[in-house]
């Protein structure tokens, strides 16, 4: 399981988990779950185009994910309807399927990009993963307080001179980078699970924002390591374990809390 040729997979997966755990915490706090759902979809055709034109996958992913941010902001500004949003996302996936089909490696690539292929990580993937995996947490940590304050109340943030639009764009861009980083490992459809499962569990389990952020990262690491190990042992796809473990992480603390009501007074709901 820890053979040298798998070392790359462990390193990249760990970097993905750290970035996703950080980004996921803010996704949950800032209630940006739609963006966390949409940005991996937007990144998907980028990876497909990279395959078609023979470019590095990570570049295609990053460019397309950042393009997805522009699309999201456009959708938000114009107050587009749900139907328009859903259609655009689906069209992006269809575009990705076209690129993959034209690239001639349709069948394998579709599976890899939708559900991830963690053991396909090669030595060339480590450097870009290292850059993104360190940049994402670094930016999020340095913006920790403004990100949190503007999540609590845009007005309170504005009083303190924080430009909420700027913060939003910054956050979505970092989220896009995190999604681009995670996509080859978890697949476009399961990035959301890796980001929000650990984070939503952490937010239930502890009350302090710093502790919740740290716990979110720790749980994301635990999740991805488990998925990797189980996948290696069973030779089943890691995406299956990622999806199931994330849902378990989400449910477990909620069931625990319902089963054992807290002693303190509930206050206003």
């Amino acid at each position: 399981m820890f053979a040298p040729y798998l070392l790359n997979a462990w390193v990249v997966a760990s970097l993905v988990a750290v970035a996703s755990g950080c980004a996921g915490f803010f996704v949950v706090c800032r209630r940006e779950s739609f963006a966390a759902h949409a940005l991996p979809m937007a990144a998907f055709p980028g990876a497909a185009a990279a395959a078609l034109f023979g470019l590095g996958q990570v570049y295609g992913l990053v460019v397309a994910a950042l393009g997805g941010v522009a699309l999201l902001l456009w959708l938000k500004r114009g107050q587009r309807s749900d139907a328009a949003t859903a259609l655009l996302l689906v069209a992006l996936l269809a575009l990705g399927s076209l690129f993959l089909s034209l690239s001639g490696r349709y069948a394998d690539s579709v599976y890899a990009l939708l559900f991830g292929q963690i053991f396909a990580v090669g030595p060339g993937d480590v450097l870009p993963a290292l850059v993104l995996g360190l940049a994402v947490p670094a930016v999020l940590l340095s913006g920790f307080r403004p990100l949190l304050l503007s999540a609590l109340s845009p007005d309170l943030a504005m009083v303190r001179g924080i430009g909420c639009t700027r913060i939003e764009i910054l956050f979505l861009s970092v989220l896009a980078l995190a999604a681009a980083l995670a996509l080859p490992v978890t697949g476009a459809l399961l990035v959301f699970s890796l980001m929000t499962g650990p984070a939503s569990a952490a937010c239930i389990m502890v009350r302090s924002p710093r502790a919740a952020l740290a716990l979110s990262v720790a749980l994301a690491l635990a999740l991805i390591w488990q998925a990797l190990a189980l996948s290696y042992l069973t030779s089943w796809p890691a995406g299956f374990f990622t999806g199931v473990l994330a849902a378990l992480l989400y449910l477990a603390p909620r069931i625990w809390r319902t089963a054992r009501p807290a002693p303190r007074s509930p206050g206003l709901a």
């Binding site: 209630r31 920790f144 307080r145 403004p146 609590l152 309170l156 009083v159 009350r207 206050g267 206003l268």
Partner: protein, 258 residues
């Protein structure tokens, strides 16, 4: 003066929301901003905060401003305790990851104590009751030491006792030299505490000292129907009289009260 508003006019898409509004508040004033829903209270507060650009007139503030929004729209599960929210009032705009420091923690602790919020300092913000949340929001606004405190309908949705406690707390704050401007649609909870009053109707304002404005003839003129000012047990109470008994006045004729 810690806040001077002069000839302020604000338009939204051609409609005048505020017209020629003017008043001034000296340090330590406790001023109620009274008006029905939709009368322009929130717009006035937002213009004072600099969120809206006036089409005419100006706002002069002396020193920094603290703001208490009407509510937070957050999930109950959000991992932010009352003390975290207060700490964000101290340095929420700063970049960089902050390591806990003793001085910062002491400052937050003192602030929580001064608004009687220590008992629920470690509860999640989303789980606080309405009155508890208002205390924490006030602490958040005050912890950076502003000269002016603006509150948007802090008493809405509070029961009588919680409202009275918040007003008493704000009176204490004003006593320490902070100018308090508080918007409310019902002036009764504020009558014992406020020394100044700005009344908004249809975008126009009338202002004056409380004892000048809160009189039957003045209020009846402002509201456009008969208002009784009742004194009971040394306190004042404002109640609407028989609406049929008094002709409706045009709100546009509200005059500034010296």
């Amino acid at each position: 003066m810690s806040l001077t508003v002069t000839n302020l006019t604000v338009r939204y898409g051609g409609r005048e929301v505020l017209r020629d509004v003017g008043f001034a508040l000296e340090p330590g004033a406790f001023c109620g901003l009274i008006g029905a829903n939709g009368s322009g209270k929130t717009t006035l507060l937002r213009t004072i905060l600099g969120f809206e650009t006036p089409s005419a007139g100006r706002v002069e503030r002396d020193g920094t401003v603290g703001y208490v929004p009407q509510k937070l729209q957050i999930a109950a599960d959000m991992p932010v305790r009352a003390r975290d929210l207060v700490a964000l009032g101290l340095d929420g705009h700063r970049l960089g990851f902050s390591w806990p420091s003793a001085g910062r923690r002491r400052r937050v602790e003192e602030m929580l104590a001064s608004v009687d919020a220590l008992a629920f300092a470690d509860q999640r913000v989303g789980e606080l009751s309405g009155g508890q949340l208002q205390r924490v929001l006030i602490a958040h606004a005050l912890v950076s030491g502003p000269k002016l405190l603006l509150l948007d309908e802090p008493l809405a949705n509070l029961d009588l006792r919680a409202a009275a406690e918040i007003v008493a707390l704000l009176k204490r704050v004003a006593g320490q030299g902070v100018t308090v401007l508080i918007s409310a649609h019902d002036m009764n909870p504020l009558l014992g505490a406020m020394d100044r009053l700005v009344y908004l109707a249809n975008g126009r304002a009338a202002s004056g000292r409380t004892e000048q404005v809160v009189r039957t003839e003045v209020l009846s003129e402002l509201y456009g129907y008969h208002i009784d000012v009742i004194r009971v047990h040394g306190r004042i109470l404002v109640v609407a009289g028989n609406a049929e008994a008094h002709h409706h006045h045009d709100h546009d004729h509200v005059a500034a009260i010296p």
